[in-house]
């Protein structure tokens, strides 16, 4: 029995990335942001999401990619925090995923399709993909015509 994994795909510039769908709470358009002075530049600021404080991380900056502009296609992928993920994991799914302790949203250039991939097509990531630090990648998925780098969010907030 082959296992399958489902990902939300998104792009940073022209690079394709994937995020395990179990990690995704929701996807929003640009929200009203309050910047926080003194923090690293990849922390864009805080937003009010229906009464909860969510920190927005500029993923391009965090991964060390060249900065771009926020366009009308930019989206915030709001992640489940580790506590919210625990609910899913207690139901027996996603035991191998680790999330972040806080409520976090990832600012990306564009969101693509939901893609289901056979586990056999997922290989360990090389030390780096392009300019992206291997710490933030948990593998690469081979799609029909392209490669999708799978994001590891565990280290996103750690220095």
């Amino acid at each position: 029995m082959t296992a399958e994994k489902t990902f939300v795909s998104f792009s940073l510039d022209d690079q394709l990335f994937g995020l395990d769908i179990l990690l995704v709470r929701e996807i929003n358009k640009q929200l009203r942001l309050t910047p926080v002075p003194l923090v690293p530049d990849y922390i864009r600021g805080l937003v009010n999401l229906r009464g909860q404080i969510v920190s927005i991380i500029d993923l391009k900056r965090r991964l060390g990619l060249p900065d771009g502009r926020v366009t009308s296609k930019s989206r915030n992928i709001i992640l489940k925090s580790q506590m919210e993920l625990a609910w899913t994991q207690s139901a027996g799914k996603g035991a191998d995923i680790v999330s972040v302790p806080d409520k976090v949203g990832l600012l990306v250039d564009a969101v693509g399709d939901v893609i289901t991939v056979n586990s056999k097509e997922i290989v360990a990531s090389p030390a780096n993909i392009g300019e992206v630090d291997g710490r933030f990648l948990s593998g690469v998925a081979k799609l029909n015509h392209s490669l999708m780098a799978i994001l590891n969010v565990e280290n996103l907030l750690k220095e």
Binding site: R32, T34, V36, L38, L46, I53, S55, D102
Partner: protein, 231 residues
């Protein structure tokens, strides 16, 4: 605009662009990755839905490395005063000043209403007395050497300072001429027997290594008026 903020015994001024309002808010905890930024105490959501950071004054104080700044209010900042065992325990804030450059005088801050700087040309003489046109009135000026056995103000000063005392019902306000204002200090002093026995002199003490003569404004003015009456 400056917000004066207190942290323990210290104070500092925070420069802000605009003040809005006093509000009661619900404090939400900082995201865990922000918790080591000591200048932030929490986050809140305002009435219009906007997110606002809550500042922690102690954190800002540390961040700005203000700890070494002298404020005159901490224990270490007290000027050295020769204190005897029988300290009266009364602490008084005094202005230290020079009339003649080598002589230090002290006057209680409580009896002072204002300090002014002025061009000596503005002093007007009427007979033996000096006056200044101040706030549409003639302010009598006191040159200490005219009433006490002390040395006079230096000649040819480019500017003099005026220590304007509180005017009361039975005493007019006067301006005491000074060549230099040294400091404002809080002292708990046991005064020694006046080196100079004269009305207006309370006594003396060693402040910051030098002899300071403590003036008692009421008596000084009283003597000044008596003398003026005679003159």
């Amino acid at each position: 605009m400056i917000l004066v903020v207190k942290v323990g015994l210290q104070q500092f001024g925070l420069i802000v662009d605009r003040l809005f309002d006093l509000e009661e808010i619900v404090v939400k905890p900082l995201p865990s990755f922000l918790q080591h930024y000591k200048c932030y105490a929490g986050v809140t959501i305002l009435g219009d839905g906007e997110v606002a950071l809550i500042l922690d004054p102690a954190g800002i104080f540390d961040l700005a490395k203000l700890a070494h700044v002298e404020t005159g209010k901490t224990e270490k900042q007290q000027p050295s005063v020769q204190e005897t065992r029988e300290n009266t325990g009364e602490r008084q804030t005094c202005i230290l000043f020079h009339s003649a450059p080598e002589e230090t005088f002290a006057i209680p801050l409580a009896s002072v209403s204002r300090l002014e700087k002025l061009d000596p040309e503005r002093v007007e003489q009427v007979g033996q007395r000096s006056f200044l046109s101040y706030q549409d009135k003639a302010l009598p000026l006191v040159h200490l050497a005219d009433y006490l056995d002390v040395r006079p103000l230096p000649e040819n000063l480019k500017r003099v300072f005026l220590i304007i005392t509180q005017g009361k019902r039975d005493h007019e306000a006067v301006g005491i001429l000074a060549s230099k204002i040294l400091d404002i200090v809080e002292l708990g002093v046991e005064l020694q027997e006046p080196v100079i026995q004269q009305p207006g002199i309370l006594g003396s003490a060693i402040v910051n290594g030098k002899l300071a003569v403590f003036l008692e404004p009421q008596a000084l003015l009283g003597a000044a008026e008596t003398q003026a009456g005679k003159g």
